[in-house]
């Protein structure tokens, strides 16, 4: 079960990377490991450094991918952003946290993919 969930997560990230590229994002890193956890995707849109969380759900029965981003997870993302920024050789002009929400049907196909810019506010670096 945990394996299946991880597989779904990977699939979602794969899809999100292609999706973001088509939106004009430049991908700087994937599955970036830090002391406090992992950032799914690091990218650049215009002059803004974007840290992107990908949430993938099989069906909205237990809530949408957006709803799965709980207050605690937002807090964790803010902390990850701080840690990532502190480790960069040069600070970016601006930084924000985006969310890619993906819903996958029972046949494995992507039903919906939504990009939410600045989904987690108040980490001190958003534009």
């Amino acid at each position: 079960m945990a394996d299946r969930r991880r597989h779904l997560g990977r699939q979602g990230e794969e899809y999100a990377v292609d999706f973001l590229r088509r939106q004009g994002y430049l991908i700087a890193g994937r599955n970036v490991r830090l002391a406090q956890g992992e950032i799914d995707i690091v990218a650049r849109e215009g002059e803004v450094l974007c840290l992107i969380e990908v949430r993938t759900r099989r069906s909205p029965r237990y809530g949408t991918p957006e709803e799965s981003l709980t207050a605690r997870k937002r807090q964790r993302l803010r902390a990850l952003a701080e840690e990532y920024l502190a480790g960069l050789p040069e600070p970016p002009l601006a930084c924000r946290i985006d969310l890619v929400a993906i819903e996958v049907g029972s046949d494995g196909s992507v039903r919906r993919c939504t990009l939410l810019r600045n989904a987690v506010e108040g980490h001190g670096f958003s534009v």
């Binding site: 292609d18 590229r21 088509r22 004009g24 430049l26 991908i27 700087a28 890193g29 994937r30 990218a43 650049r44 960069l88 050789p89 040069e90």
Partner: protein
Amino acid sequence: MSRASATTDRERALLAQGYRRIVGLDEVGRGCLAGPVVAAAVLFPTDLLAAPDPLPGVADSKLLAPDQRLALAEEILARVVAVGLGQATAAEIDCWGLGVASRWAMVRALRALPVPPDYLLVDYFTLPDCPCPQEGVVDGDARCFTIAAASIVAKVVRDRLCSLLDALYPGYGFAIHKGYGTPEHRAALARLGPSPVHRRSFAPVRALLAPGTGAVRRAGDG
């Protein structure tokens, strides 16, 4: 064939001025189609730098044969006080541009040093917000001993990394060409398509990508 070694002329002048932790910094792999840029920072003991040609043969890493380079790297690593290594990935190069990424690799190499330098010798560049005096030496990797030593270490480390990439992404020949755009590499690239470690912003790779999914070159990029 003997080749002119890099000298410690600059280092000895700095020693005379009272500097003790003179660090050489260089980066390699800018011209490659794949893989990271790798930087090395090296710090030698002052008594070694006081000699005019402390490790004969230390010269521009690009002019050395691979086995020569390896032997020199071993000698260098046996004699240094400290080494710092840093890299910037192919994706970071695509995202922020080659100039920025090279700088990041160098800053990371400096940060990886266990002691801060009191004087920094860099090949050609200078770093922004450097906490100590620094100097971008023109032709430093050929003329200046500590920079040449850093370039040799960086080159050997990067070559090793590329051999690892060969295991992760077989078929491109990374162990042979180290990511450089040789005819064999270009042929494999055309046949297999780009791997995740190819630099999508570089023209020969970008030409193979679906429209709109490559990196777009922006004004102000290095």
